[in-house]
Symmetry: C2
Subunit: 434 residues, 2 copies
């Protein structure tokens, strides 16, 4: 495929003839790429094989008999220890800045712990208040674009989702404070660091405003999904203020529930998930957790403790992830800049961490772009998926997940994506001239 010949003038300012020339060229390029018969799924933020290999030591960690007893003398193979191994809770304690005895370990999925938290609110209520299922319509705030699986959980329980725009500082806190005056608003989803998909890390002021939030609903909960707490990609990692400390200052610590996992530290399918909150919230969760299970998988926790040792061990491991991921993000950003820079048909994030590049194409073009890519063999996250009910009001947001494909395939995929964006933009602008 020859180098693209378009100028860097904004496409909106071009004549119909110029746009048609771009459309024709993009169409030719698209057909050429399509003929390569690519087959690549980039729909999710999935670590690649090289990343998984970084944590092979987890599997080698458990051998000697003496290692089955943890510091309390419990045999990690047996039943018991409802909140999980202390040693693993201590690692999360360091990472999240919450005391280890206010942490509950789950199995391999923090999503499952979030689902369960929402389920508890629905059937049993939060903080001793009426269960949400007995309160008529209840609502949740959904900073958008956001994480589709959060939205899927809320939708599953029939909770009405209210989108809140994401700003460079985090969710629009003016709007959140306003919406919280409605007592039927029961919570807010947050990915506070390297947010999925925008890459935004909440500013100190945003975190403080969450801590100072006094919603009309006494059973309001901030679902603080700190999924990317140690997932830096640059030498200038974002610093996230500790929401728990801020909440303690404000006396609102029962209101926040923090989630994290080692899914993107060790293994996505076999990591350790954690939930952290106030002592009061943990005490109330104990009543539920001990009915639900006789304990999470302590052997897997022990494996992780033996391999990671402590928060420093985690951070050192994350440097390996960065070495693998940063070049892939570079490929994505370079392609976007090279192919689309100056055309005025796309904007994108330059994240300092996390798993995504957030792309906004011309209004009304995202579905078309994702469709064109799919037709040519590259599956992106569905257009709209980053909004509640899959409804992107501008049909412009596309989530790019660079982690999984090998670099060569990623380059090809980006070539395809950029051509698709140009094609869709030309079509759109020409139709507008119609």
């Amino acid at each position: 495929m020859k180098a693209t010949a378009v100028s860097t003038r904004k496409m909106k300012t071009m004549s119909a003839g110029e746009l048609e020339a771009i459309e024709q060229e993009a169409l030719r390029d698209y057909e050429e790429i399509k003929s390569r018969g690519m087959s690549l799924n980039m729909s999710r933020g999935i670590p690649c094989v090289e990343q998984l290999d970084l944590a092979l030591g987890v599997l080698e960690a458990l051998h000697a008999r003496s290692e089955f007893a943890n510091s309390n003398g419990d045999d990690c193979r047996n039943y018991g220890v409802w909140n999980g191994l202390l040693e693993m809770r201590e690692i999360f304690s360091e990472l999240l800045g919450v005391p280890a005895d206010q942490i509950i370990l789950g199995n391999n999925s923090s999503l499952q712990m979030m689902f369960d938290t929402i389920s508890q609110g629905f059937t049993h209520g939060c903080g001793g208040h009426t269960p949400w299922c007995r309160q008529g319509e209840v609502k949740f705030l959904c900073p958008s674009p956001g994480y589709d699986r959060h939205f899927a959980v809320t939708e599953y329980f029939g909770i009405k989702m209210l989108p809140v725009p994401m700003l460079p500082t985090g969710p629009d806190m003016d709007m959140i404070e306003e919406l919280c005056k409605d007592p039927s608003v029961k919570g807010c989803w947050c990915v506070p660091k390297y947010s999925n998909p925008t890459g935004v890390t909440y500013s100190d002021e945003t975190v403080r405003r969450f801590a100072r939030l006094h919603p009309a609903a006494p059973d309001f909960r901030i679902m603080w999904d700190n999924a990317y707490c140690v997932h830096d990609l640059t030498d200038e990692p974002a610093e996230l203020l500790n929401i728990y400390d801020e909440c303690v200052k404000e006396g609102t610590e029962d209101q926040v529930i923090i989630f994290a996992s080692t899914s993107k530290i060790s293994f996505p399918g076999a990591g350790v998930a954690a939930l952290a909150s106030s002592a009061k919230t943990i005490a109330s969760l104990k009543g539920r957790t001990t009915v639900q299970t006789i304990g999470s998988d302590k052997l897997n926790q022990l494996r992780h403790v033996l391999f990671l040792h402590d928060a420093d061990g985690v951070k050192s491991l994350m440097k390996g992830h960065r070495q693998i991921l940063a070049p892939k993000f570079r490929i994505v950003l370079d392609a976007l800049e090279r192919e689309l820079g100056g055309l005025g048909i796309a904007r994108w994030s330059n994240p300092k961490g996390g798993y995504f590049v957030c792309l906004d194409v011309l209004e009304g073009c995202a579905k078309r772009v994702v469709g064109l890519c799919r037709e040519a063999g590259v599956t992106l996250t569905d257009a709209g998926a980053t909004y509640p009910y899959g409804n992107d009001p501008h049909d412009s947001n596309i989530r790019i997940a660079p982690s999984f494909p090998p670099q060569e395939e990623l380059r090809d995929a980006m070539e395809l994506l950029c051509v698709a964006i140009k094609l869709a933009a030309a079509e759109k602008l020409l139709a507008g001239r119609g």
Copy 2:
């Protein structure tokens, strides 16, 4: 302590003087045992260290890189495969007699899968019917004595529990068929093989009557907890009819949900749990499960596949468990026979498998016996725990869990238990003479 001097005459036929002599002797023996300062928790059916060691191979199974890919080519370390590894589902398929594609693997806890099933009925309903939480009072049938954790789950959701007597053939099916005419009765707990705690295996006729059940409630579910499906203790293992096959014959297969796990095959804290049901029920569960998690721990499933190989591997492993457990059951049964045989103050089961000996002492004596043992350092399952709401109407049932203590400690504990039973019986009978 000298050998007991009581005759084997039924204590109820004894004179007050004779009873007083027994009471005095039992009291002396009790004080002597108490002075030993025992400390033993026998409250739960927990495998002992020697049993856990049988499955050490699970931990050694995973090394070579090539083993991370399962037969579908998925990397077991990564996200995905919502229903779990096919190879592990095939092992459960052999054990449970349900097709592998109608099995969903969970993490380490079948209890958690049961909790989740009840939770689903409560919030979303079963088979497309109105959620239980919108139906007013709903009820569950609880064959009793039964498993306290089942009852705790039902109680947690505010579901009214109706006890149903256990007969030697399983639950009283006449009563179950009658109670099922009430459309607010939504399900029944079952431990069909080596039932907890009675040791009863449901007769073929009982299984068939469950399969033929046509409850008034269309959203009725049989919670078939086959926890002890391969847990034989003798050369004459009980044979349980395959409920799934029977339900298919009757067209009622959507009505039964089968649970099992390797908790008492490999590791209680790090085994693999499974749920099996009809294709229709599994399809409806897929919608829930894929919102809840991106998949269970496939590495742990792979470990189990590599160690167990197949159902024959499981059965061969279970022979090792039997070798360790059978002598402990012998100790319990011998002590009961030797110390209490013929006195008419206790009856007990002689189970062919499972984890418990089921003991019935004189009416009104179970709490006293358990209290006496606790005071002397041996914690038994709480009296009443085997009944809904912890309420044993006769205060007579005690669950003995012989698996965990070393043989010597078990002998001492049984000595204590028998003395406590005699003491409580003498007290009771003397009070009756009052």
